[in-house]
């Protein structure tokens, strides 16, 4: 090895700076916008980015983002948290029970406290007793689902409008709008002009009828990023997820950090459940979470264990969910066209570029592209069941195509015991 000490900073710098020019993200987002505007005009599927669809997408993305953020806190400290779903269920009950009796703001608190309870169980099992993280998470999910259902029967039966599987209707949290913009933007949006209407739709979504909890959730995302990546506390917490033994030798109380991280994780998952109860609907229902804890976890993995990435993932899944909930088979259908064309271009590009080796992958892509395009050409709508599948298929595809570029915390899921560093 001829590498000298002075030569070392070069590769280090390369890994630390993303190596993308400043215009990369604006250009990508702008490009996507142009593509979507073009599809909208070409296919006539105007609901593709209407402010209604986008508002629904944001409303559905927030629980995923909060659950994903919960996963981020825990996994950054090295504890895999598949129990998010159970903690969310506890949160939905907490939000409904305390929200009904003491108002929506205390409802938020109730969701957080119930989530922390779930987090405490997971932390006790994984951090203190060293149980396998997945096993404990599965058990927490069982327990959360059981406790939620049992408590709902116990506390909501006999209340006006409530029942054994459903809470009474709850008071809603206030929304924020910037006055004077809504109608003007709506007018622009309804003109359906290429690109102008799309921009207006996005702006209208961001300035009109934003729920306070949405604002709080976005704030928590930004705050978590700052706390975990810009403070000594965050560095210590993340070090527990990367190299707990090393952190221990430097004097970090790994057990305490891990425990705390899982508690915060539970609080955020509980809040995600609270969002479902207090914002997305106005009551508790059995089975309300519908696997959103898992999707939140998938969004976090999609986002490469980073807050910005997980927000993007949550928005993507939220959007897919919004489209399916609005029953817009035509929107998903419209997406078949660009997906097919992109796959085709990718496959052909690979065929042309790769002169050696077997072109199996490229051929598979071309065949898949042709199938998707044929599907677009010969049908007018995607059946409802396939629209329902979209978020899950999207998750699988994204993971299949990007899993190798993802990097999880090095000691994520590893069982840590104090005093084993040497």
């Amino acid at each position: 090895m001829s590498t000298s000490v002075t030569a070392k900073p070069e590769p280090l710098r390369a890994t630390l700076t993303p190596g993308r020019p400043a215009w990369y993200w604006p250009a990508l987002i702008g490009g996507a916008l142009v593509v979507i505007a073009t599809i909208r005009v070409l296919t006539g599927a105007h609901d593709i980015d209407s402010s209604g669809a986008l508002a629904a997408a944001i409303g559905l993305a927030m629980p995923l983002a909060l659950a994903g953020l919960g996963g981020l806190w825990s996994e950054r400290a090295g504890v895999v948290n598949i129990g998010l779903e159970g903690m969310m269920i506890l949160g939905t009950w907490g939000a409904a029970f305390f929200g009904f009796h003491y108002g929506p703001w205390i409802g938020i608190l109730g969701a957080v406290v119930m989530g922390i309870l779930g987090g405490a169980i997971h932390a006790l099992a994984t951090v203190i007793f060293g149980v396998d993280h997945i096993v404990s998470g599965v058990a927490v999910n069982l327990l959360g689902a059981g406790a939620g259902a049992y408590l709902a029967v116990r506390t909501f039966t006999g209340l006006p409008g409530g029942g054994p599987t459903q809470s009474p209707p709850l008071q809603k949290l206030p929304s924020i709008s910037i006055p004077g913009l809504g109608d003007w933007l709506l007018g622009l949006e309804q003109s359906r002009t290429w690109l102008v209407a799309d921009l207006a739709g996005i702006l209208r979504t961001l300035t009109t009828d934003l729920n306070v909890l949405t604002v709080i959730a976005v704030g928590l995302l930004v705050f978590s990023w700052w706390l975990l990546w810009r403070t000594p506390f965050g560095l210590r917490l993340r070090s527990c997820g990367e190299a707990p033994q090393a952190a221990e030798t430097l004097g970090v109380n790994v057990i305490r950090f891990k425990f705390l991280a899982v508690l915060v994780s539970g609080a955020l998952a509980g809040l995600a459940g609270g969002f479902l109860v207090l914002v997305a609907s106005n009551l508790y229902r059995d089975g309300q979470t519908g696997g959103r804890g898992y999707i939140g976890l998938a969004a976090m993995i999609f986002g490469n264990w980073r807050p910005g990435g997980l927000a993007a993932g949550a928005l993507l899944f939220g959007y897919a969910d919004a489209v399916q909930l609005r029953g817009r088979g035509d929107v998903i259908h419209a997406y078949l066209l660009p997906i097919g064309l992109m796959l085709l271009a990718w496959g052909i590009w690979q065929l042309v570029r790769r002169r050696t080796g077997k072109p199996v992958g490229a051929l598979v892509r071309v065949a898949l592209a042709l199938a998707v395009l044929a599907w677009y050409w010969f049908t007018d709508e995607v059946p409802a069941e396939f629209t329902n599948m979209t978020p899950y298929i999207a998750t699988l595809l994204v993971l299949a195509f990007s899993a190798q570029r993802l990097r999880m915390p090095a000691a994520d899921g590893a069982i840590y015991r104090k005093g084993e560093a040497n």
Binding site: I134, N141, G144, Y150, L151, F401
Partner: protein, 371 residues
Amino acid sequence: MKVDFRKLGLAVAAPVLAILVALVLTSIILLVAGDPVLQVWQVLFKAPLPRQIVAILNEATVLYLSAVAVAIGFKMNLFNIGVDGQYRIASFAAAVFAGANLLPGWLNIIVSILIAMVTGALWAAIAGLLKVTRGVSEVISTIMLNYIATYLVAYLLKGAAVKVEGSNATSTAVIAESSRVPGISVESWLGTGREIYGLIFLAIAVGILFWFVLTKTRFGFDLRATGRSESAAIASGVNVKKMVVTSMILSGAIAGLVGMPLLFGQDFAYGDTVQAGLGFAGMSVALLGRNHPVGMAVAALLWGYLNQLSNGLQISAGVSDKLVLIIQGIIVLSVVIAYEVVRRAGLRMEQRRVARELAAQPKPATEEVAA
């Protein structure tokens, strides 16, 4: 033999401890919620009625198959959370084939069961292949595949459904009388008209096969070795990628069997009312039974017992039968904690014993270092 007894004692101590912990914690929850504690335990600890005994055995049959499917993965640290999706898509495929009544009698049953195994195996193989070729965690991919299976079956069911007169439920064509697995009548013993699933023998056979493959074959050894230490397995020539795909396929094939006792012994068709969530219950049973063929059977019976007796909670004690989910959740959580504690205690005892024996042996220092 002496060591074996101690091991057995430790293995039994953990679940017993867990059940006691569950009793105490559940009592506390009941007290806090203001439900009658004593009455709840009176209902749950009553001797089961004859018809309940049959129902417990039937439920245990299904849960046991699900648990074995999960345990194959668990044995090599592979988390097949997708048993739920695998058994539903497999049951659907088998129901469609069996409902067509193309083959006579038992042949129809056997081919349908094989179709279920292949379908379950293929669905599980997706997760296995994604893991070894693309590095996708099987935990996430199997969860996603569960949801995809749910909607895929709902879509296909619409196409395959047969209109049943006087009912809104959609279901596949009903299997002919000749292709149903006859139940075992226990009328003379227990005096109940309910019959035990004939396919309980399938579950027993699967259990024996599981034990045999795991402990008596090269494959089983490789499987366990990979689970204990992947690097050691690679060093001894195990192709871990192949093992992942193979065990996923086997797990999926057994998962495909989960719905068979229901299909051929009770429902005779696949409809939208089919029981969901058996995969997750199977996971609990596997954890409680510690992936051991006999342990899982005991755990499956316990689960069936709790499920059946909890049905009376609402009527007899005025408490929601959902309570059983809490009890089961606490049992699973405390049992995994108890196993971990017991394992460490056993390890410490072993270390002390070895240290004592080494200290007692009057041997030169050089040999001790080598040991």
